[in-house]
Symmetry: C3
Subunit: 267 residues, 3 copies
């Protein structure tokens, strides 16, 4: 049962345990992602060398695979890291950035999903649709599909890979098989800041590191993203100051913020 | 004719159409560049893999090639992307970061300019000088030449490659053949923030995506950079807060801001 | 003798000379590092291509080698750059990010230290310990050892490589052979912002570019980091605004700030 209380309990665990989250992610967002994890209370590490990814996965509590600026050498490291994560039972979050925009991204995402099970797939409506239906064409990395219309694809995708699908948008849909929860937090300025989707994936990994129920972890992460976004929007004058206040809000989150702001339902 | 009105009309088009701008750019500025494009209303994508650059160019409305942290693999992708852009008639903006600092950068910039026509070259005074005269030696990536003394080189360079040259500095000179316009907006704190030159190149591409006249597009981009910089400087206490306010200013630009602040002349 | 006066004299030199600092560093922090150097008054350049690193070192006043997101191609470029720096007498600062977390990082750091002499090694307590004792295991890139307990290792390491060791933490220890100085500036929010350790290394290089006494340069850099951190913390509401105010503080540092805030002793 997802509730303000369950969200808060996981935040407290992250702050206490400071789980190591290993990110193999894109160049655009590495800095934001690291800062979002630190602000929440987790410990980020970024490492992509073939020579060390398996050993680094050996120390981490969760693994993020993000294909935003992929290339062949990095994909090889992603596969190695995922296989080692499977061996150790480390939860893996896949962020299929821009899948559908090029055949290479679609093939790579498909290949990674075939390499080892992932616990959570987190993407926008275009990305989730493209993973299910090759008829969905993305323009770039920003979604051109509404999250409502894509929520059916999220259920299909969850069934295909037996994982949680976290579909972010104006409403976030977190689904696993027949389970579904909708989170209606967030702010319209969020798509105007680069890398907030990638931060959502990284926070999903931090929550998965402290909560064995990946469905709850994914929902808690999206609740925290949306609530921190609403708190940031109160102070922000544009996307520049939004980013700054967003990190401050993540860092300073209080139980009352979650209780007062969480908008969640099962439909 | 460049005027507050022509600047504003292009801003409105960018906000309405949200053109996809494909960036093959350097690691230092990817995040800033993406955020500047989003704040203006464009849609950025960063992709450099050999396997996908051509397909990504197939979807985009403009292409930015920036050699800030170049290496052999990326240069190959840049060439592929430029050739595909030529086929599709997609405008290309080249930012020859640090050309003149090393022979490798000079050879690479020369090679790229020989690969396919570019619509706009945007650089600082040292970079524009170095592309014309091998006698110009850069210390690093910051200009050691005044923009006034380099404006003659801008005309020469424009003639050599039949493109617009956008020379940024205390005064910005936008030239194409015998056409020239000077933009006297901006603020002395701008060179103290990394990546604002690269953002200027990215915004030039966004304007070129909505305006077939590359001379006007380049001038509009520099006007917007300078005006957003002046608005940011009113609030900033240093280069850290300047960056934040700069993105907020880009996002919130109003027609009055352009009308009140634009300083442009033909000399 | 390290004093407010000696710190200030070096700041003035950096602002006057704007030394070119060449960074071969990690993807996560390139932007922060460049901005920290610009805010202080130095001129940063990032370049890692095999084809140009030696020529770029030929122009620079100091070189930073940071292994945060290392891979084989970059390590080769680091070695070339270090050998050229040795030829020219350019000071080198090594930041062994995450050494101890994987065997690859340990081997790479060892190999680099064997390639050419470095002037300053700057790391956190876990990293400094791991360079001396293979028994120190890091979890990721954040320190799990107190700087007090690691200060003995700093003396050992300094002896091993005949260089200055700058060990940052709640107290910073700068040691060279039997010399030692402790700097007690800084703020608890600093480890919650990614890349501040890397910025400390980059600023150490800027100070080494204007001061032949590497011990003094390293101490001056840590004093400036800590004092700018304290000034930033007065204004910050969290790690997001901390970063912004930190750059503003670096940019605006006055001699009174150093005189009023510096906390330094020889124990």
């Amino acid at each position: 049962m997802i509730s303000a209380r369950s969200v808060w309990e996981d935040i407290v665990k992250i702050r206490e345990r400071s789980p190591l989250v290993h990110n193999i992610t894109n160049f655009v967002v590495m800095n934001n992602t690291a800062n979002a994890l630190l602000a929440l209370g987790a410990s980020p590490v970024m490492a992509h060398a073939d020579e060390e990814v398996e050993e680094m996965v050996g120390n981490c509590a969760a693994l993020v695979i993000n294909i935003g600026t992929l290339s062949a050498a990095w994909v090889g490291a992603m596969e190695k890291a995922m296989l080692r994560a499977r061996e150790r039972g480390v939860p893996v979050v896949l962020d299929p950035v821009g899948v559908g925009a090029t055949g290479y991204r679609s093939r790579t995402a498909g290949g990674l999903l075939g390499t080892a099970a992932v616990r959570i797939i987190r993407g926008n409506a275009s990305e989730i649709s493209a993973l299910v239906s090759s008829g969905t064409k993305m323009k770039g990395v920003d979604s051109s599909v509404s999250s409502d219309s894509a929520s059916g694809f999220a259920h299909t995708l969850s069934g295909m890979y037996g994982c949680v699908v976290s579909l972010s948008g104006e409403t976030d849909y977190i689904v696993q098989g027949d389970r579904r929860v909708c989170i209606r937090n967030g702010h319209p300025m969020m798509p105007r800041v680069t890398g907030l989707g990638c931060s959502a994936s990284a926070l999903s990994a931090a929550f998965a590191a402290v909560n064995e129920d990946a469905f709850a972890a994914a929902a808690h992460a999206m609740a925290v993203m949306g609530i921190a976004g609403e708190l940031a929007a109160r102070e922000a004058k544009g996307p520049g100051s939004f980013q700054v206040h967003f990190l401050d809000a993540l860092y300073g989150l209080r139980v009352e913020d979650i209780e007062n702001l969480l908008r969640i339902d099962e439909n």
